[in-house]
């Protein structure tokens, strides 16, 4: 029975109401918390959103056993960190490598480069700048359109803003010079077995984050944005590069000789300079 004059009854009702109010307040806080972005104290892992943006929400499968990425755990020179990506498809797998995207999660422009791959290329090795401790992802696209990601963690910092062109005058005088090396040896097998080659191009590849040591002004970004290598008329490798590629871009790769006699390389930088080069294919011994 409810009797407003019963003090005990009244007190217990007040207590119950207070409980309900607490519950309501809690619900309000919870509801409010859900509708607003939380102020995360810890740095978020940027990879999920990066992956979504770079690959338009496509599914990324685990690349273990299919794509390998190798980098030193602690980089010696953050502005020249070697990275090697290898497709390691198991023997029965008939798919081919179509493209590799190299993503340095914590760099100001995370997509370091995208390589479109011609027939026979299973290894690409280059040098990148690393701005802070970061995961580095290699995402391979196979001929069936499926994406596979592998990752490695690298300790390095300051690579993007490290003063470029240790010798600025020389770098300017040599802009666009190219060198092509073929690593064939007498022990290499028949013509049809994979061979290795390396393309080097003189370019400061300014990241836009480096300061002129005299004026203390930022040096504008100026880098090789496209580089293509042909074997005869067949495209071996095409790179869309960004500011994370080290000064004097240097790419080593393997390929299957197709019988052509010449290599041709074309590079375009962000100021529209076009650099070209042509070299005879070393004859297998």
């Amino acid at each position: 029975m409810f009797d407003p004059t019963d003090k005990y009854e009244l007190r217990s009702m007040v207590r119950q109401s207070m409980q309900v109010l607490w519950l309501a307040a809690f619900a309000l806080v919870l509801g409010g918390g859900l509708t607003q972005p939380s102020l995360a104290a810890e740095p978020e892992n940027p990879w999920p959103s990066l992956a979504r943006d770079i690959f338009n929400g496509r599914d990324l499968a685990d690349g273990a056993g299919l794509i390998a990425i190798e980098m030193p755990y602690r980089a010696e020179d953050a502005a020249i960190v070697p990275v090697t990506m290898r497709a390691t498809l198991p023997p029965g797998d008939t798919r081919a490598l179509k493209a590799i995207t190299l993503v340095i999660d914590q760099n100001p422009a995370p997509v370091a480069a995208t390589f479109q791959i011609g027939a026979g290329v299973t290894m690409i090795s280059t040098r990148v700048r690393i701005d802070s401790y970061t995961n580095v992802h290699a995402v391979a696209e196979l001929s069936d359109g499926q994406l596979y990601a592998s990752t490695v963690f690298v300790k390095a910092s300051g690579g993007c803003s490290a003063p470029t062109a240790k010798n600025a005058e020389e770098a300017k005088a040599n802009l666009g010079q190219m060198r092509f090396r073929q690593f064939s040896r007498p022990t290499d097998g028949p013509v049809s077995s994979p061979r290795e080659a390396q393309i080097m191009i003189r370019h400061p590849n300014n990241s836009g984050l480096q300061r002129d040591q005299v004026t203390l002004l930022y040096v504008p970004a100026f880098f090789v944005r496209e580089l293509r290598v042909w074997q005869g008329e067949q495209l071996v490798l095409a790179m869309d590069g960004g500011i994370s590629i080290s000064e004097d871009p240097n790419i080593r790769f393997n390929y299957l000789p197709n019988g052509a006699t010449r290599f041709r390389v074309e590079a375009v930088d962000t100021d529209g300079h076009v650099f070209t080069g042509e070299w005879p294919v070393d004859v297998a011994m």
């Binding site: 009854e9 309501a24 619900a27 030193p72 070697p82 090697t84 010798n167 290795e196 080097m200 004097d248």
Partner: protein
């Protein structure tokens, strides 16, 4: 008891209703407000066109400037030693107009019975190495062109540094104050550094000729020097990385 429960439930329903009602109301109001945010009206000004007299001539004071002229500037800055023309002169094509001081890599500061010779060097340890020689005591302050005990650090050019060692050794002095390490007799102070840099270059060149990748060279070049230097672990692989990338461009 039932009544009390009903009252309690009613109170809970009221509070929750209030909370969710308010959230729904907030969302609705935001939506309503956003939907009214259309393009703001543009301001248009209209004027009436009319005919007026054309002014054929205006008298005014002005200044003349030559149609063709040239602004001359120098590619490099420096001290002008000779000025070979006067204002208003006619000059022939190809005539030298002024001469900059050419021995600007070296400067002497006379402090009164004490001459200090400052010398700037081409890219070696860095691209701005400077040495200072006190002639009175024959003491050479080498800056970081000389490392003793502390492993040399290649921030500029390995080839440039090796090339600078000859001219550096020929500087007449009794002792050197290096950038790192203790004061030492000159030019013997250069011996350790020369040996290390030559070893590093030799190892990198061998790796390049062999076709080894950078990461291998970074781990092996110069390691035979390990016992001679402090901070070897911190800098040798970095030196090797920079040296390899530089020497790869040498003509083979």
């Amino acid at each position: 008891m039932t009544k009390r429960m009903v009252i309690m439930l009613a109170a809970v329903a009221l509070v929750f209703g209030g909370v969710f009602g308010f959230q729904a109301f907030k969302a609705a109001m935001i939506k309503k407000y956003m939907s009214t945010m259309a393009q703001p009206p543009q301001t248009v000004t209209a004027g009436k066109a009319n005919v007026s007299e054309w002014q054929p001539k205006i008298t005014a004071v002005g200044s003349l400037r030559a149609v063709s002229g040239a602004d001359l500037s120098l590619e490099v800055s420096g001290v002008v030693d000779v000025l070979a023309f006067n204002s208003g002169d006619d000059v022939e094509k190809g005539t030298a107009l002024l001469k900059l001081r050419s021995d600007d890599d070296e400067a002497k500061l006379d402090l009164g019975n004490r001459t200090l010779t400052l010398r700037a060097w081409r890219t070696a340890h860095t691209d701005n190495d400077l040495t200072l020689l006190d002639e009175a005591t024959q003491t050479l302050f080498t800056g970081d062109l000389v490392f003793l005990r502390h492993i040399p650090v290649v921030d500029g050019s390995l080839r440039g540094w090796l090339a600078a060692l000859g001219p550096l050794a020929s500087v007449t002095a009794k002792r050197a104050i290096p950038g790192h390490g203790p004061a030492a007799e000159w030019p013997g102070a250069l011996d350790d550094e020369r040996r290390y840099l030559e070893r590093l270059a030799q190892d990198c060149r061998a790796s390049i000729a062999h076709g080894s990748p950078l990461i291998e060279a970074a781990a092996t070049a110069g390691v035979s020097e390990k016992s001679h230097w402090e901070l070897f672990e911190a800098y040798n692989a970095r030196n090797a990385t920079a040296a390899f990338a530089e020497l790869e461009w040498e003509t083979q």
